[in-house]
């Protein structure tokens, strides 16, 4: 049974960037990583592209994440949840570290009729400049590693 306050929405029903009061600094968020988001670095090692750590373009766009503690509170295994059926990898961020970088961490459930509803979906909003993205890369730790891919 999911218990978290509904997020604020604008007149179009879109979730407004917000820092959700029920997402604690001790919580963690999971960012799913597709093989499509990996590139070769200067030494020929496969790494995660900075593109994986950017906000969606468009109105109120943030970086999609899964709220780990919310999944656990619902009695599910977060690793199974973010990997099933096809997503190959994911990384973890501490909410406290994201907020220290002046990002907002909020709740934005993906609801039906979406073909892939996700009641544990959150977003990270803020300024995703080149240096901020590099910093995110250094803060990310593997949750479900992709074989032969390095974090940085």
């Amino acid at each position: 049974m999911l218990v978290i306050a509904s997020p604020p929405r604008d007149n179009d029903g879109q979730v407004i960037p917000h820092d959700h009061s029920e997402i604690s600094n001790n919580d963690e968020v999971i960012r799913r990583i597709s093989q499509q988001q990996t590139v070769l670095d200067k030494d020929g090692q496969r790494i995660i592209s900075s593109m994986a750590y950017k906000a969606s373009s468009g109105k109120n766009g943030g970086m999609s994440v899964d709220l780990k503690q919310l999944i656990e509170k619902d009695g599910l295994d977060p690793k199974d949840y973010v990997t099933t059926p096809r997503w190959m990898g994911s990384v973890l961020f501490k909410v406290s570290e994201l907020r220290a970088m002046e990002f907002k961490v909020g709740y934005n459930p993906i609801e039906p009729p979406s073909p892939d509803p996700n009641p544990y979906h959150g977003e990270v909003w803020g300024r995703f400049s080149g240096s901020q993205t590099r910093r995110l890369k250094t803060l990310a730790v593997w949750f479900v590693p992709i074989p032969n891919v390095n974090l940085t």
């Binding site: 499509q36 070769l40 592209s49 900075s50 593109m51 892939d116 240096s131 590099r134």
Partner: protein, 173 residues
């Protein structure tokens, strides 16, 4: 709608303002036959070593399934893929190392080079709306960000430097 988008994009890509990009490019011509009209149309395409691989990659990215990223990710839009190709033709030479291309989640894409002398990332948010990030020994690891709309001179210069360095390495190896 699609036709309108195409017209808009074509105008943007080949506008006079974009003439700041190199215009005299080595080209190859392809003849397309249209038997119904009995017409032959000559289409010139810049001769670039990296072009076939990039076109193949772009084509793949425009066919990604919705939700490819585990959330609501969309395939790369045709408009952005087309603009990216035209932009690369303008700022890269025949010998420029092939870039890597990563999809974004809303039809956008990012073009990347990572070499020993520079890192270059061009995030194509929309045609003529590109967020660039460059890093080299001058900028340090944090690099510098800037927005590109019609003048790609600075990026073209950095790519030329990278290409020359790559050529030197091949020549001396």
């Amino acid at each position: 709608m699609g036709e309108r988008m195409m017209q808009t994009q074509t105008t943007a890509v080949f506008s006079e303002e974009l003439a700041v990009l190199p215009t005299k490019l080595p080209t190859s011509s392809t003849v397309y036959n249209f038997p119904i009209n009995r017409q032959k149309i000559f289409i010139t395409e810049p001769n670039r070593d990296w072009r076939p691989a990039i076109m193949e990659r772009l084509e793949k990215l425009t066919r990604l399934e919705t939700g490819w990223d585990g959330y609501l990710g969309e395939p790369v839009s045709f408009a952005n893929a087309n603009f990216a190709l035209r932009m690369l033709e303008g700022i890269c030479s025949k010998d420029t190392p092939a870039p890597q291309i990563v999809p974004g989640t809303r039809g956008d894409l990012q073009i990347e080079w990572h070499t020993h002398i520079t890192d270059i990332e061009l995030h194509v948010i929309a045609p003529n709306n590109v967020h660039a990030w460059l890093a080299d020994e001058k900028t340090g690891p944090d690099g510098k960000d800037f927005l590109l709309t019609i003048n790609f001179t600075e990026v073209a210069r950095q790519i030329r430097k990278m290409t020359e360095h790559a050529s030197d390495r091949v020549a001396t190896s």
